[in-house]
Every structure is written in C-alpha cells, then in structure tokens.
Symmetry: C2
Subunit: 429 residues, 2 copies
C-alpha cells in the first residue's frame, strides 16, 4: 500500500533540519521518499498543496486515562488537589479507564501527537484502548512499594506481567514506571531498574516536582531525590525523569553523565504553582536529553503538545529574563527528535526521513494563524503561532488515524456520550 502526500512543505527534522517542498511517500508502515515529485503511482493520494508535513509529536509524560477527570481539581491548594486526585484514582474501573484513554487519545491525535509515554497502573486496559485509537503508547506500569499501593498484588510483578502480555503488540511499547521517591524505597527502585535493563525498555519516574518532595526526602535520607536516585543506580540512558524542576547544578551534571532524558511539564508546574522551573539551558549544556510532557488532564488540563511547546518557551524565556533561551527550533526538537531518543526509537521516529516509521502530522496551510508561511518563518510559526486548530490529518506507523479532521479509528461521539456519567460517578462524591 503506497500513500503519496503531495506538494507539501516538509519540516523534516532531519540532521540538517531541512525544510523541503514536495511529496512524502509511504509504503506500508514506513516513509520511502521525501521531497521532490514522486512519479510512481499510489494507492492513496493526499492532496496537501501548501500544507505543512511534520513529524508526529511525542508527549513524553502523561496519565492518559485521567482525561475523563477534567476540571475537578482546579484553582485549589496543592495538598487538597492531591487528596482529591488520589481518592478518585483509587476508585476507578476498567470501563472508565478505557473511556478516559480513548478521550485522551482522540485529544492527542487532534493536536498532532502520535506517540505518548504514560505512567499509570492498569496499563493493560490503557494499551487495549490505545491500540483501538491507533496511536503509539509507551506504557510504563507504575511501580511503588507494595504497602503504599492500592494495586492488587505486587506492582513490579504486575508490570512484568503487563510486559509479557503486550511486548509484541503493534504500536505498544511496555515500559517501567516509578511513582517517585516518596513511595518507592531502594529495593523497589532497583527492581524496576533491573527489569528495564534486562528488557531494554524505558524507565520513567516523577522527580523533584515540588520543593516539599525535595525537603522531605532530604530529611528522611540526607540526600536530595536526584542525588539519592543516582546513588541507588537508577539513572541511565533509558531513564526519563518527569518534571525535574527543583534540581541543583550537581544533579543536572549527574543526569547528563548518565545520558538520561527529562520530560519537562511546564503547564502542570505553572498551574499547580509548584514554584520550580526546570533548568532547560543547563540540561542542554550538560547533555541531558530534553523532551516535553503535558502531564495529565487534572493538572494541565489538556494534552495539547502544540500548546505545550509554546508554553515551555514562554516559561523559560520569562523565568530567565532572556528571550534567546528555548528557541523555536529547540522547542520543536524537544517534541520530536529528542523525544524519539528518550524512548530509544531515534532510528525509527522523530523525523521525516526515508526508512523511518510514517508518523506524520499534516497541518492546514490555509490557516490564517500560521500565515504568511515561508521557510524563513516556518518553525517560528508552527511553535509560536500554531495550534491544534491547524491539525488536519494524522498518520501513525502508516495508518491514517485522522483525515481532514475526522478520526478514522474510534467512534468519538459514542465515547464522548458516555463520559459525563463517568465524571459524575468519579468526581461528584
């Protein structure tokens, strides 16, 4: 099956960061040619004259199933927020996890995301829903100390069972999650890291999101969370630390030496007023691979990576009093090539190049908010002027999951029609 996308602007994100004009051709799951005019025949033609083709965005930190819990805990103090969310989280059913995941996947497709890294329990339910939706899930089962969890059985064993059942599924990559140092002792952390190393799968965890977390861990152990995790041996090239807003320069250096990744979540940190700002310029300087996450729908409250790139730029520039930090091209890199590297898929995702998976977003070039549109201002316009309203067609691993604004994979209206009842039963108690 050959699909030809015709006459588009192509933001390749290749090593030279070229912007080309021409066709992108897909054979099955993979891209076979980029730029120029494709003279062969195609089974499917996508007219994209003047539209923008870019790599599918990669959201490296979310809790997708929480999408059914929107708007329940806004504008309140952080401790009250945590109480409410944990209470709801512990009462969820497979049915509302399924609906929540599908709502979140629909929202992500509609805002140009083709791959997401998830950290939650019941990733088996989430995996099935994501497979129906047709986008790629890097699904990290949340591991924590057995006495701290509401999961049935041992969390690490649950994670391993999930890995065994889903490791061969298309567009699903099972991973390992750690909730955070506040509920994960040394043995739990080591077990998770060993399993991640054994299977060569991502290990993601919350790190230094709040000042309280840092202070309490230091009181308990004499070390800050990142120092402690480094000493326990958790940092490595498959590690992705989410938030990472309250760090010292020594911690950043250690993370860089480990060759690890961070997922910065600017909207979540700002909305919860956790105070810290992830030190992006230092991450870059010391070689920490920087990526972006939306976090979940109770803290953001959207899963929109188009918006998140801009918000990250705004937060970095404003908090550093320096408009030259977090440039447009860097912000787009965080959400594409860097994120592909974080999940170990740099050779098959993150750019529009022959041989890579066809994970592609087409933006409507007829949108006034990104015009005038020229190679000279294209990256700026996508990052600073673009929005989810520009997303027209989305392709994940060769499958056209959304076309001309219509989702092809799941029955969006039917799913949404069941969401209000679930909100009431989860949130109105």
């Amino acid at each position: 099956m050959i699909t030809a996308i015709r006459d588009a602007w192509v933001i390749t994100q290749d090593p030279q960061r070229r912007i080309l004009r021409g066709d992108v051709v897909i054979d099955g799951e993979r891209i076979v040619s980029v730029g120029g005019e494709y003279k062969g025949s195609a089974d499917k033609e996508i007219k994209a004259s003047g539209d923008v083709v870019m790599p599918g965005l990669i959201n490296t930190h979310t809790h997708v199933a929480m999408s059914v819990m929107k708007g329940v805990v806004d504008d309140i103090p952080f401790p009250e927020f945590l109480d409410k969310v944990f209470k709801i989280d512990s009462d969820r059913t497979d049915k509302d996890l399924d609906i929540g995941t599908k709502i979140g996947c629909a929202e992500m497709m509609r805002s140009g995301t083709t791959t997401f890294v998830d950290l939650y329990y019941s990733e088996d339910v989430i995996a099935k829903a994501a497979m129906e939706a047709g986008i790629r899930g890097v699904l990290c089962w949340c591991v924590l100390d057995e006495e701290m969890t509401t999961q049935k059985g041992n969390p690490l064993q649950n994670c391993k069972r999930f890995y065994d059942s889903f490791k061969e599924k298309r567009k699903i990559m099972p991973g390992v999650g750690l909730q955070g140092v506040y509920v994960c002792g040394e043995e739990t952390c080591r077990g998770a890291k060993e399993f991640s190393d054994e299977k060569k799968i991502p290990l993601t965890f919350h790190l230094s999101e709040t000042r309280g977390e840092v202070n309490e861990h230091r009181k308990k152990t004499g070390k800050r969370p990142a120092e402690w995790l480094n000493d326990v041996g958790i940092f490595g090239e498959r590690s992705i630390a989410a938030h990472s807003a309250w760090l010292t320069l020594n911690e950043v250096r250690a993370m860089g030496r480990a060759g690890m990744s961070i997922s910065t979540c600017p909207t979540s940190n700002m909305k919860l007023a956790t105070g810290g700002v992830a030190p992006i310029p230092e991450f870059i300087e010391y070689g920490v691979n920087t990526t972006i996450g939306t976090d979940g729908s109770t803290t953001n409250n959207s899963l929109d990576m188009m918006a998140e790139m801009k918000t990250l730029g705004l937060l970095q520039k404003s908090s550093r009093w320096d408009p030259t930090v977090a440039k447009a091209q860097e912000l787009l890199d965080f959400a594409t090539v860097n994120a592909a590297k974080a999940i170990g898929m740099q050779s098959s995702l993150g750019s529009i190049e022959a041989g890579k998976y066809a994970d592609i977003v087409i933006l409507n070039g007829g949108s006034p908010n990104i015009r005038p549109l020229l190679p000279e201002n294209m990256i700026s316009n996508i990052v600073y002027s673009g929005s989810s309203s520009n997303v027209k067609t989305v392709i994940c691993q060769g499958d056209i999951v959304m076309e001309d604004g219509r989702i092809n994979t799941i029955d969006e209206a039917e799913i949404l029609s069941r969401s209000e009842e679930m909100w009431r039963s989860l949130c109105l108690r």
Copy 2:
C-alpha cells in the same frame, strides 16, 4: 430576521454567572431570549445540541495589522527586536496594512474573538478591512509627539480626522491611543485625554511594559510612568493601560481610584522576557478593571484569546506560587464582561442576555479536549482545556461571520495567497 440557536449549553456571563441549557434567539443585531425552548419560528436555525454558546471574546490590546509580520523577530534580545519592528513598521503600505488586518481578523474570528482594541497608525485602513471582515474594532489612533513620529502630519489631528470619518460606522468605535511616555510629552498626553473626554471614547496606552521604560522615565522626570501619567491627569474611567507589568502598589491604588482598566498581555511579556508580571490580585483588590490583550503578532505570535486566558492563569499562579489566584471564572470574566466595561459597552456586550448585541461564539461540544462537559466543570474546561480548535461559529452584532468553520465575510484563501510576497518585501531586507 430571527436566528435561533438550538439546545446549547449557554455560558451567559450574566450577573449570576448562570449556565443554562436551551435556545438563544437573535432578532437582527440583538439577543431577544436566552434559555428554555423558543416556540416561535426563525428565519435561520442553528443546530447546537450539546455545543457551548458563550459571549464573543474581547481582545483589549493588539496591533492587528502586524499579522503579516509573523515570525520575523523571535528569540532575539529586546533592543534588537525593537529596532527591527520599528524599521518594518515605518515602511508599511496601505496594501499590506489591509492584508495584515484581514489575516488578523480571520485569526481572531477563528479563535472566538468578536471585538478587539487596536493601537496603531493608519486606523482608517484598518477600519475598512475590519468592516469587511465583520468584527468589531475599537480603533485607537496612535498619538505621539510630532517630532517622534513617521506619521504624516500631526498625530492628534490625524486621530481626530479618523474619528470624524468613522464615528458612525457600524461595528467601528474610534478611540485615542498614546504610544507611551517615552515618546509622548505632557502636552501630547493632555491633548489625547481631552479628546477622549470630549467624545467619550476610549484612551489606551502602553504603560510600564519594561523595567527600562520605568527607570528612564524616572531619570528624566523624577517620577515613574504611572505616577507621572496620573499627575498629568491621564487616568480615568475610559483609560486602558496595556501591559502594566512594572508597577508599585501605590500606582495600582491610584489606577483603582481612577476607575480605569488594564489590559494584561502575558504571552507578550513572557516571550520578550520583560521580567515584570502584571499584579492581577492587586488590580482586583484595588478595583482596577482587569482585561486581557494578545498584543501583536510579532510578540505573541498569535491573536488567540482562548490560549491567552489560560496563559494568564498559568503565569499568575506560577509567579505567585499560589494555584488559587486567577481562577477560571475570573479569567473568563476578564475576557468578556470586564473587557466590555473597559470599552464602555457593558450595557451592550460581554454577556449573553436579552437586549445585548448578539456577539456570540459557538464551541463544538463534540470535541474531546473539552469533554466530559457538565455545568460543574464547564468554565474550567473552556479556560484550561479549550482551544481555538473548538470554535465553530461566530456571530458579531447579529451577523454570522463564521459558520461551521467557514468564514462568510472575506475571501480567506485569496488574502492569504498574497501574504508571503508582502512578508518578503517587508521583512527580508
């Protein structure tokens, strides 16, 4: 001509902030009934079952004609930014002002804005373009000292001439602008204020956007800009101060006593890294009427009020380390009822109530990013989860300017097709 919008969720923004379910009926330019089922016949039926009807958003600070200059001055230091923008600004033609305004108006319609306050020169050209686009312009001709301007003739006389020619035009309200204390001496300021008082029209000006502006004015006059403007007599109930990020509490109190309005521009301030954060909780405490502006396309770079409400909330919460400031309902109030008051139209704009102008936005209730959607989470979902992608239909003073994603008033494709050439001739020199 009767138009009936059927079976929607209606965010009325009335004094009780009611959310109703039912019909909204428009007769000509005005709303005649809200909520319940309308039994009469209508010339035009708009099916909106489960959609969200809300007041058209009001952008209280922009330079709409700059929409043709997107992406030319990003990620660079502020002095370099100013040099480049002023250079381009002084070289513009009526033709590119016209195209720029229409692109900006299209972008604003597509993101739910029905009224904008503009500060620029050549407001006559901008007025004609806005009238074609069909949204409401409060167009404040920029007044500054004659020796500081590239305008032909005396700026205040130009402003008066503009007022005389456009004061009776539908959906156009001429106003007075002042560039800022750095190019406006006492006499210029007084002349502008007198004209605003005489005609009872808005007076808007940049105020304390940067620390440099404050320091230089204090060196020159011994007073901070807001102190000085207050002493010169510029503050009053028709005054709208844009930015207003570097203020003392005494200045805020003086602004409150004057009953004036501010237009905070969070994205612009963050992107330019001007450092200051507008003191919104203090504005509220001391009775300064708070509203929101996007600023122009070279600093934001979008004119999207759906995004701007959220960004303001994020900036306020994060900079105050307090998630309870700038609540969702307040943010929506800033962009509707407060903004209507700022332009002196509180009796005819800002809410969905019988007797007011039909300035209405319909959001697609079938969008996953705002679902589940219930009265309990509706305001949160619009402000924190909503985006321009949800905007479906836009009505301004009874005219359906956009319907089901299609702009009815101007030929968008034709206008956009001419924008690249203009960008090249303005920006590539």
